[in-house]
């Protein structure tokens, strides 16, 4: 009988010890130790982030840079929670997310473009389809095209591959190509562009999209901005000049102006050496304007997100 009281007492003590929510958001402006720079977010940028981190750590042996993926959304959520110094994102931050950072961490978001990326459209090597227009891509990914025949291809059902909804690539493609309409429910969602490429390379009926850096073993499709335009392949010239219609800057976001080690890392990414790393990994370096003023640079980038003059309080980091 009394033993039962003991049991109840033990359980009550355990439960009492677990009341309340742990303080969300971690420490104030810091979040992580000064010696480790944490970078989280975009899976598209993970190769770039890791390569930059390796080279940076070789140059600065006393510092550690920790790079993880999970999707642009994950990185931004971590920035809001204060569990990362830098959020890698392959899409611009939404207004609601900027407000969240302001609310939770009391700091303005600083947006730094670090490289350019194109979203390539992949089809199987054997596919005869060489070019597609953006309106066609929209119809395909809305699920309105059920057979390759309709596009001049073989008589095979169309199978769509894409990314999970936590991905910046997903969000950017939805915004740029689908005009914010929903993807077809039949689209197979895979956890990374590498998985998409792997799937497309094994399936003759497949079409997929993803960052250019991963395109090996499959055929890139030349994209036309609309039915009348010239088809453009996702090569370096085309992406940097803005001719390739589905290209975007890759961002590193920080809460507040980057300082200390975080600033060193971002400066490294923007330096000529860092930009070379971007090129080696398969992305494209930022365009170098003839006169390097901040506004010119911003305007020359495709889809760079809200401009500083609008009410969205974004600043662009000047190298």
């Amino acid at each position: 009988m009394d033993l039962r009281y003991h049991h109840l007492l033990s359980i009550a003590l355990l439960l009492a010890g677990c009341t309340g929510r742990a303080p969300g958001g971690g420490a104030g402006a810091g979040g992580s130790s000064r010696e480790t720079v944490t970078v989280k977010g975009s899976d598209t940028m993970i190769l770039l982030g890791q390569r930059l981190a390796e080279d940076f750590m070789k140059a600065h042996p006393e510092l550690t840079v920790q790079v993880t993926g999970g999707g642009s959304g994950t990185g931004i959520a971590a920035l809001i929670n204060g569990t990362t110094d830098i959020a890698n994102a392959s899409r611009p931050m939404k207004e609601s997310e900027r407000l969240q950072v302001q609310k939770r961490r009391g700091l303005q978001v600083v947006q730094t473009p670090v490289a350019l990326d194109g979203i390539a459209i992949f089809v199987h090597e054997s596919s005869p389809v060489r070019e597609l227009s953006i309106p066609q891509l929209k119809r395909i990914y809305l699920g309105e095209v059920s057979n390759w025949r309709e596009l001049g291809g073989p008589d095979l059902p169309m199978v769509l591959y894409g990314r999970e909804n936590s991905s910046g690539t997903y969000a950017y493609f939805k915004e740029r190509v689908l005009d914010e309409e929903d993807f077809a429910p039949e689209m197979q969602t895979l956890p990374g562009t590498a998985a998409v490429v792997n799937a497309v390379s094994q399936d003759r009926k497949a079409i997929g999209f993803g960052g250019i850096a991963f395109g090996r073993g499959i055929r890139d499709v030349a994209v036309k901005a609309d039915d009348a335009a010239e088809p453009v392949l996702p090569t370096e010239d085309n992406v940097v000049s803005g001719r390739y219609p589905i290209s975007r800057p890759l961002f590193m976001y920080t809460a507040g102006e980057p300082t200390g080690d975080v600033k060193s890392f971002i400066d490294y990414a923007l330096s000529p050496v860092g930009q070379q790393v971007a090129a080696k990994v398969g992305y494209y370096p930022l365009p170098r304007p003839a006169s390097a003023t901040g506004d010119d640079r911003l305007d020359s980038l495709p889809d760079a997100g809200p401009a500083p003059t609008q009410d969205a309080p974004a600043e662009v980091h000047q190298p």
Partner: protein, 343 residues
């Protein structure tokens, strides 16, 4: 009965009452000390044991707490309510009501139907694949195999339980999907059948072990009686032993079902993750655990999507807990019943 000083000794207790507070009969200091240590030790061990249960309760409580805004918060309810998750909704003004899972969208859509159907389909395929294999393996192992073979077979099948689910998922994605595509020519390379088969591989050990225990627990007298009446071994196994062990085999299936429902990595990698509402087994599926795993990373803390994912988690937790509890209870009952018979 024991007392350790909380309250006076009860008068209904026979014999000298033992206690630290106001003993009715003096006890030696040494005895009192030993009894105190005894009592404290019992407390500590009981607390530790109950902390395991407390962990389960706390996990469930935390998950449910994060899902509560679905029921109580006006901002969240503007975007999604449990009713909108269950019934077909007209997502745009004047459009036909449909079931759609598109949480990241201008108009977020949170229908549970595609996820529930997907989870059910994949679990069903897993059971259809695994149960015949595992039960027949158990029958062979319990009834026909020579002891030496059985001693190798049982650990070998249980070795399958040691394969990490991510490895099974990877195997399904790279090898199994291509193989099935070549043999059957499915439209979708990653579909419910691929994921279901890989899931079946994951639950074979569970179903096998419990079935085999149930078969072995059937008393020898049953078999001896059947053989004495002229039945062959196969006939005995099929008509006598298997029916006698059927409660245990049912329990094995229930445990397998619980395991298959909650398995995440395999379905995340091999099922295509397309939230399609269809009873066609060869279409891609999106299951509840894969949804939680794939989407949790992006979600903003405390929003509608966050609450929905926790609601899914609580649902999954409740269902698998129920199945596993029922299965385990049944297994225990079967063991008790057959173990106690001595005829």
């Amino acid at each position: 009965m024991d007392h350790s000083g909380l309250g006076p000794p009860t008068p209904s207790q026979p014999g000298p009452p033992v206690g630290l507070a106001a003993p009715l009969r003096p006890v030696s200091r040494a005895t009192a000390g030993r009894k105190r240590v005894d009592a404290i030790a019992k407390w500590v061990i009981a607390a530790v044991a109950f902390s395991a249960i407390a962990a389960v309760v706390l996990i469930f409580a935390f998950v449910v707490r994060e899902a509560l805004p679905l029921f109580f918060s006006p901002e969240v309810r503007e975007e999604v309510t449990p009713e909108s998750m269950l019934f077909a909704q007209a997502w745009k003004e004047g459009s036909v009501p449909s079931y759609s899972w598109q949480p990241v969208s201008v108009v977020p859509k949170y229908s549970l139907a595609p996820l529930l159907v997907g989870t059910f389909k994949v679990t069903l395929i897993a059971l259809l694949f695994a149960v015949p294999l595992a039960v027949l393996a158990a029958v062979y192992s319990a009834e026909f195999a020579p002891r030496k073979v059985r001693e190798v077979l049982k650990p070998a099948i249980e070795l399958l339980a040691g394969v990490p689910s991510v490895v099974l998922g990877f195997f399904a994605l790279i090898v199994l999907a291509t193989f099935l595509q070549n043999v059957f020519g499915f439209t979708y390379r990653l579909n419910g059948v691929v994921a279901g088969m890989a899931l079946g591989l994951a639950i074979i050990p569970v179903v096998y072990t419990v079935s085999e225990d149930a078969l072995v627990a059937v008393p020898r007298s049953y078999r001896e009686a059947a053989l004495a009446l002229g039945a062959s071994r196969a006939r005995t196994a099929w008509s006598v032993v298997l029916p006698a062990a059927s409660p245990g085999i049912f329990a094995a299936i229930v445990l397998g079902f619980g395991r298959a429902m909650g398995e995440t990595m395999i379905v995340l990698m091999a099922s295509g993750n397309a939230a399609v509402l269809s009873w066609n087994l060869t279409s891609s599926v999106r299951t509840i655990p894969a949804t939680i795993a794939a989407e949790m990373g992006e979600v903003v803390v405390g929003g509608a999507h966050w609450s929905v994912l926790f609601f899914l988690g609580a649902l999954l937790f409740a269902v698998t807990l129920t199945f596993n509890t029922v299965g385990s209870w049944y297994v225990a009952r079967v063991r008790r019943k057959l173990g106690g018979m001595t005829e």
